[in-house]
């Protein structure tokens, strides 16, 4: 098996160029998918027979919650790459993904609370799903704080990678909490193996917003990573050339 393709991704110059090519397409896809999904979900999808219109918050809540977990898994994978292959790009990925994942987790908790009040009758309950999600938010906060607290860049990267990898144990707990324990939170809305337990005109807009959130995440992450790469590689020739090109070549070196 050849590992060249893999090591190519680890090269900051190559990554910067490829991310630059991918990013506008992801941003465009995110804008289209989110526009269609949000308008369809909020205005045209039928209301729920029990909850009425308040169920529509699902079109934000579920994508945010899914992305919050996926983002952490991505950080854990980047952590493995960082520790095993010592790639700088992986450290940067953790550093740039953590705030985005934290805001998604906060969004999921916030929309969940807003949804919980009219349906369950409580903003917050200490059930297994909600609590494990809160722990995920703390894990994100830990990664962000750790990255900023350690001055040495390599040690900070190593510490964040270890915390990301260890924290990934929480992800299956979040996923299966509604099956392992009796919780107030209902079961999974989407699963890969089964058809969703609602009609297509309700889950199709949800699929659009979920994919839209993922594309938005990809675009935001790549934009953040490109900037971080430029800052980190500011002294190298390719970074200076890239900055000069971005400024229209008007600046003398």
């Amino acid at each position: 098996m050849s590992w060249t393709w893999f090591h190519k991704w680890g090269s900051p110059k190559w990554f910067y160029a490829l991310a630059g090519r991918l990013q506008p397409w992801l941003a465009l896809a995110a804008a289209l998918l989110l526009a269609v999904g949000v308008v369809w979900g909020l205005a045209f999808a039928p209301p729920d027979y029990q909850q009425g219109n308040s169920f529509r918050i699902i079109y934000i809540h579920v994508p945010a919650a899914m992305l919050a977990q996926s983002c952490y898994v991505l950080m854990a994978l980047a952590g493995v790459v960082s520790l095993v292959w010592k790639m700088k790009v992986a450290d940067i990925a953790i550093h740039c993904a953590a705030p985005v994942g934290a805001s998604m987790t906060a969004l999921a908790l916030l929309t969940g609370a807003i949804w919980g009040k009219p349906t369950w009758g409580a903003w917050w309950v200490w059930d297994a799903r909600l609590t494990s999600m809160l722990i995920l938010l703390f894990l994100y906060a830990g990664v962000i704080a750790l990255g900023n607290a350690i001055g040495n860049r390599d040690s900070a990267g190593k510490a964040c990678a270890v915390l990301s990898i260890v924290g990934v144990v929480n992800i299956p707990i979040i996923k299966y909490s509604v099956q392992w324990w009796s919780t107030l939170h209902q079961g999974a809305t989407f699963s890969l193996t089964e058809k969703p337990a609602m009609p297509a005109e309700m889950w199709l807009p949800l699929l659009f917003t979920v994919l839209g959130f993922y594309c938005l995440f990809g675009a935001v992450l790549l934009a953040r990573m490109r900037l971080a790469l430029l800052q980190r590689e500011a002294r190298s020739g390719w970074a200076q050339a890239a900055v000069r090109q971005a400024l229209g070549g008007g600046l003398a070196p």
Binding site: W3, P46, P47, D48, Y49, Q50, Q51, F55, I58, V80, L83, V84, W85, P118, T119, W120, G121, A122, V125, W126, D127, A128, V162, I165, V166, V168, V169, I173, W181, S182, T183, L184, Q186, G187, A188, T189, P196, A197, M198, P199, E201, M202
Partner: protein, 147 residues
Amino acid sequence: MNPQRKQRLYIIIGLVAAVGAAVALALSALQQNINLFYTPTQIANGEAPMGTRIRAGGMVEKGSLVRSSDSLQVRFVVTDFNKSVAITYRGILPDLFREGQGIVALGKVGTDGVVVADEVLAKHDEKYMPPEVNKALKDGKLAQAEP
């Protein structure tokens, strides 16, 4: 993959496995405390502590809801289709509270086995449905039952 990288990868896999095992042990030890509520079977078997605030959860039995005519006092029975337990509550029920719906009630178990609740939360499932579909389903069931 060179041997050094392979070794680091094994260390990481070992680390995750160890942390996972530790968390699994801790969670299984805390099993009872993580459950949000006691099921009617657990309460009927005396697993729920008497005199302290607990949560009781289950399905509201069809036709069991009795409202007081002059106050907000209500009495209903929740079941897990095995055992059932009576709950009394004074206050406003959540919008989603109805017979056949899952609920969680916070309160104390009395000596007579009745839970005196001071808070009732409604549970819902992931089966979202437009109102017309629900109506059609109900009509279909009625049509089947009638002839």
